[in-house]
């Protein structure tokens, strides 16, 4: 037997552990979500072409009637669902919010799939950011969570990652509950969280470079700014919020958590 045969035999031998019995119910539920999301991406891609045509048409009409109305940049900044795309560092807060039309389906007044306020479309791979209510006796000062989720085909948001303050008030000034990007059943999530205060710009350091988050003010409380970073930003540190004059704001809990 050659050494190569030894190697092959060793690799072919059963590993020294009993393979885990994989929960196929979980696998199929997660796979179904991936499938639905792909379908949604296809349909929104088609919709995007229509939106681009409509916006382009409106601009063309605007040029005819009002000269300089309509900005080409608006077209360039469209992402999925016709919402502004987050394509790297951007300092302009998105205006991509829309009222949620899907009511809670479980009848529960709280829970991550109950939407509190507007759902924000990040423009990145269909990811949504929204708040949901929390009513938990062990968290007397926490009344909401921020979710990163995906939309079901009927538009209902489904939470993939939920994060909330678990120490002190959920409305104290500064950063709260920032969650790092992670892999959830094959879906790479966005780093996201929220800031309480008049943040106009939110940045972090990743790979020695400063990256800027997209952000949106929560419709239920304008002091709460929900933010997220683009895909592939890398490990984040040094979260910093800036006010309208460029001044640094209260950091709060500006660390980034995982899991």
């Amino acid at each position: 037997m050659t050494n190569l045969d030894d190697l092959k035999d060793a690799m072919a031998a059963p590993p020294d552990f009993v393979p885990r019995q994989i929960d196929l119910g979980t696998v199929m539920a997660a796979g179904g979500r991936v499938r639905r999301r792909r379908r949604l991406a296809v349909s929104t891609a088609s919709g995007l072409a229509v939106v681009a045509l409509l916006v382009g048409g409106a601009q063309f009409a605007g040029h005819l009637t009002a000269g300089n109305q309509g900005s080409p940049a608006q077209v360039a900044n469209q992402g999925e669902d016709g919402q502004p795309a987050s394509n790297g560092a951007a300092s302009t807060p998105p205006t991509n919010t829309r009222p949620t039309t899907a009511p809670p389906t479980d009848g529960s007044p709280t829970g991550v799939d109950t939407v509190l306020g507007d759902v924000v479309h990040t423009g990145i791979n269909g990811w949504l950011v929204y708040a949901s209510p929390i009513d938990n006796a062990s968290l007397p000062n926490t009344h909401f969570a921020v979710n990163l989720g995906l939309a079901e085909p009927d538009g209902t948001p489904t939470s993939v990652v939920a994060t909330n303050e678990n120490e002190g008030s959920d409305r104290s000034a500064g950063f709260h509950a920032t969650e790092a990007a992670m892999n959830v059943n094959g879906e790479v999530t966005l780093a996201f969280g929220y800031y309480v205060g008049p943040a106009e710009r939110i940045t972090a350091t990743a790979g020695g470079e400063t990256v800027t988050a997209k952000h949106a003010t929560w419709s239920e409380d304008p002091s709460v700014v929900m933010f997220w970073f683009d895909l592939g930003t890398g490990d984040l540190s040094g979260l910093t919020a800036y006010g309208s004059d460029g001044e640094k704001l209260e950091p709060g809990k500006n660390e980034v958590g995982v899991g």
Binding site: N3, L4, L7, V34
Partner: protein, 174 residues
């Protein structure tokens, strides 16, 4: 449960152990292997309607290999070692425990690319062209990585590859 779901359950039940085995060889970590196998099955189920009439296992295995090798495409995970193993390949591998320990220790000494090539080439018995396609590398690079990996393992790179084993797997369909 839909008929396609029944088929998937049957497929997943039959293949999950093998997928975990491949993943374990690629990672050397049981828990990472289990997670990678589960994720590969998730993606396989997502594409089930499209692939179930073809070679579903090849699809799952390709997803698995890409999941793991995508990690070494990231710069911070990319490393290479030129260190040789402390000891040559043991000639007497009668003891399974010793053999497994040697195997994982030896694979751990390879760079991630070399490891992936060695596992795909010599455990799955995939031809070089197939390995190249799965890893999105040139055939020349596969040859080089294979030769270097075997050299680190102190094996003869030009040793004839035995005829396909019972566990030979067909090529990926992507």
């Amino acid at each position: 449960m839909a008929r396609g779901d029944d088929e998937f359950v049957e497929f997943a039940t039959a293949s999950s152990a093998r997928l975990q085995h491949v993943a374990y060889l690629l990672t050397g970590n049981r828990h990472e292997a289990e997670d990678a196998a589960q994720t590969a099955l998730v993606r396989t189920y997502a594409a089930w309607q499209r692939i179930r009439r073809n070679d579903a296992y090849a699809y799952a295995r390709t997803v698995l290999a890409n999941l793991i090798t995508d990690q070494w495409r990231r710069p911070y995970r990319e490393y290479a070692t030129e260190e040789l193993p402390d000891r040559p390949v043991p000639r007497d591998l009668a003891d399974d425990v010793t053999r497994r320990r040697w195997l994982i220790g030896a694979l751990d000494r390879l760079s991630p690319r070399e490891r992936a090539v060695i596992v795909l080439r010599h455990y799955l018995d995939l031809p070089e062209t197939e390995v190249a396609r799965e890893l999105s590398l040139s055939v020349g690079t596969i040859k080089s990585l294979n030769s270097r990996g075997l050299a680190k393992l102190r094996l003869e790179a030009d040793a004839p590859v035995p005829t396909p084993r019972k566990n030979q797997e067909s090529g990926a369909r992507r």
